[in-house]
């Protein structure tokens, strides 16, 4: 076990870091750095919430629907709560949900993808069919159905969202495995009588692992939007946990009167999802060899 991990780390992380530093002046590299900076800022904001939020997010601290200004930088909402404080505390929810749901999706999608891609044959076709049917189903609808059955709470919502994105991890990993499987070194390892698990762990996994950061950053944005969608429809977290999506659902019917109470939470969702996409798109550009080919040619010419 330790063997493949150390091996994977030197090759994967080392390669990634090297590529980043080399690419940091290209559009893709800049996108990744901007995205990472924004995500880090929001993460720090969520962690430091108890120290930097000016008010308690769950108490009435002023008149209802006060416009931005004075002590309330972003105004107050329908319940007289400070919008800014709720936004600062609310940063925790999408980050927590992304972390938990991605872990679940990855924990199920990755082994299934490795197994399905490596085993091939009938097993592969059956798993593929199930995954494709989930994939073709509208994600929000699936999450609504699961959330309606299992109820509210961070873990429940994360699970509902995780199910939606299992097929994405599965697909990418599986497709990559089927191509890696054909490589001479994998065939050689099999021919030398190495066990399946060791071949997968030692040769297949380190190769397909480079997909994970890309799928993660693309999916994380989707997961946040799905969580917000659930919250808006009243299927999100229980009240009492400050959450950007919940704030929209609380205030949107008064949007024409107190726009700030809906506008700012939505704006922060957009900032976070866009930052995640920047990272994903940038990584994809850097790691996707098909697109990179031309760039290298251009560098060689120069």
């Amino acid at each position: 076990m330790a063997g493949w991990f150390a091996r994977g780390r030197t090759s994967l992380v080392g390669r990634l870091l090297g590529t980043f530093i080399r690419q940091s002046r290209t559009v893709a590299g800049i996108l990744v750095w901007i995205g990472l900076a924004v995500i880090l800022a929001i993460l720090v904001m969520g962690i430091l919430a108890p120290f930097i939020a000016p008010f308690d997010p769950n108490t009435k601290v002023g008149a209802t629907e006060l416009p931005p200004g004075g002590p309330f930088v972003m105004g107050t909402d329908r319940a007289g709560q400070d919008v800014l404080s709720r936004i600062i505390w609310g940063a925790r929810v999408p980050l927590a949900i992304v972390a938990v749901s991605t872990t679940i999706s990855l924990a199920i999608g990755l082994p299934l993808g490795l197994l399905s891609g490596f085993a091939g044959g009938r097993l592969d076709r059956v798993i593929l069919l199930v995954m494709d049917s989930i994939y073709a189903f509208p994600g929000l609808l699936l999450a609504i159905a699961i959330a309606a059955v299992i109820g509210r709470g961070i873990l429940n919502i994360s699970f509902a969202i995780a199910v939606v994105y299992i097929p994405t991890y599965f697909r990418v990993i599986r497709n990559h495995v089927t191509s890696v499987k054909q490589e001479p070194y994998v065939e050689a390892a099999v021919a030398l009588g190495m066990s399946r698990t060791r071949v997968i762990g030692r040769y297949v996994f380190p190769n397909v692992a480079q997909n994970i950061p890309v799928i993660f950053s693309v999916n994380a944005a989707d997961a946040i939007l799905t969580e917000a969608g659930l919250a808006v429809l009243g299927l999100g977290l229980p009240p009492g946990i400050p959450d950007w999506g919940f704030d929209i659902s609380l205030n949107w019917q008064r949007f024409d009167v107190s726009w700030w109470a809906t506008f700012f939470p939505g704006l922060f969702i957009l900032i976070l999802t866009t930052a995640l996409t920047f990272v994903g798109e940038g990584l994809n550009d850097i790691l996707n060899p098909l697109l990179r080919k031309k760039e290298q040619a251009a560098v060689a010419e120069a």
């Binding site: 290209t26 559009v27 049917s133 994939y135 073709a136 189903f137 509208p138 994600g139 929000l140 609808l141 609504i144 159905a145 309606a148 059955v149 944005a221 939007l225 799905t226 917000a228 969608g229 808006v232 429809l233 009243g234 299927l235 999506g245 929209i248 949107w252 949007f255 024409d256 726009w259 809906t262 506008f263 939505g266 969702i269 957009l270 999802t273 866009t274 995640l276 996409t277 920047f278 798109e281 098909l290 697109l291 080919k293 031309k294």
Partner: protein, 341 residues
């Protein structure tokens, strides 16, 4: 040429025949899932404290005491005769309620798909041919923002600006209450009003459609911009484009005749997937604009555990998806000869 038309015809026929097993699989799946879901459907119908005798009678009426395979065949018969039972919440026939709401969603889906493809393919091509230039970066930024915007929030902003502040378009609904809707032919208000020759009704229906269609269409266009851009870049750097350039073909012709045609094939292929995305978005768009379509219907059905309504919605939605994917596959076969049998 004759051979290729024949193979295309064979493909279309096979694909149409394949619809039936697909539908049967879908129907069976729906049936099983709804029987497996925890909770007795009867408990959602009756109030607490209802006498056991009444519950038993209801159970018998709904056929819940029959063996599973009898329930299954009754269910299949009902689906094919268009009898999907009565909604537990509204007490109306499910088929009729869906017949009223489905056209709203189809109208929304078609118009937003139109907005998305015009914006997405246009901008994606524009940006893909100018890789890493300032317009390309701008377009990519647009694509990222459009794809990541919380659709609900975006719809609210559109509504506030164009309906509330500027007053150009109606705030919500599908049709003005002061006008009488056109006689139902297709259920799509825009088409029905044209068929009836009622221009005022047509203008009204279109005015109600613009904001929801723009909201959903712009969000979807983010996806199309990305896909189109990547594929155009790949096509532009391919060997056949190089070859065409080497033969001295004018750059404009290289682009339109060679690069664009090949670059758009994968875009059409992925269109099928966007329908799942579209429907997720439709649930939220319909909520913002009180546009009573299938998205809202399914949402209510699930939240109130209205089993007949869920079943009906899933079945009709599934049928719609199967037909759409058939259409897209046939379209694909037309543009890409490798797909045919």
């Amino acid at each position: 040429m004759a051979g290729s038309t024949a193979s295309l015809r064979a493909y279309v026929i096979t694909r149409v025949i394949l619809i039936f097993p697909m539908l049967l699989l879908l129907l069976t799946f729906t049936f099983l899932i709804l029987r497996v879901i925890p909770g007795d459907p009867i408990t959602t119908i009756v109030r607490e404290g209802t006498p056991q005798a009444v519950i038993d009678r209801l159970r018998a009426e709904l056929g819940l005491n029959d063996p599973l395979y009898i329930q299954y065949f009754t269910y299949l018969r009902d689906v094919f005769t268009g009898n999907m039972g009565t909604s537990i919440v509204t007490q109306g026939p499910v088929t009729q309620e869906i017949a009223y709401r489905m056209p709203a969603t189809i109208e929304l889906a078609l118009s937003s798909m139109f907005v998305a493809s015009v914006l997405g393919i246009g901008l994606g091509t524009f940006s893909g041919t100018r890789r890493d230039s300032l317009p390309d970066i701008g377009t990519r930024l647009y694509g990222a923002l459009a794809y990541n915007i919380p659709i609900f929030w975006f719809g609210l902003i559109m509504k506030l600006i164009f309906a509330v502040w500027l007053g150009w378009l109606p705030v919500s609904g599908r049709f003005s209450p002061r006008l009488s809707p056109p006689p139902t032919v297709t259920g799509l208000y825009t088409i029905d009003s044209l068929l009836a020759g009622d221009l005022r009704a047509f203008v009204d229906a279109v005015a109600h459609l613009i904001l929801p269609a723009l909201t959903l269409g712009i969000v979807l266009s983010g996806f199309f911009v990305r896909i189109t851009r990547v594929n155009v870049i790949q096509a532009m750097s391919s060997d056949y484009v190089e070859a065409a350039r080497a033969r001295g073909i004018e750059e404009r012709n290289v682009f339109f005749r060679h690069a664009l045609k090949n670059g758009l094939v994968p875009v059409i292929t992925t269109m099928g997937l966007t329908f799942a995305l579209l429907f997720s978005g439709a649930i939220l768009t319909e909520t913002v604009f009180s546009f009573e379509g299938m998205g809202r219907y399914v949402f209510y059905a699930i939240t109130y555990r209205d089993y007949p309504a869920i079943q009906g919605a899933v079945v009709y939605y599934g049928i719609l998806m199967v037909i759409i994917s058939l259409g897209i596959d046939i379209l694909n076969a037309f543009v890409d000869p490798r797909i045919r049998y």
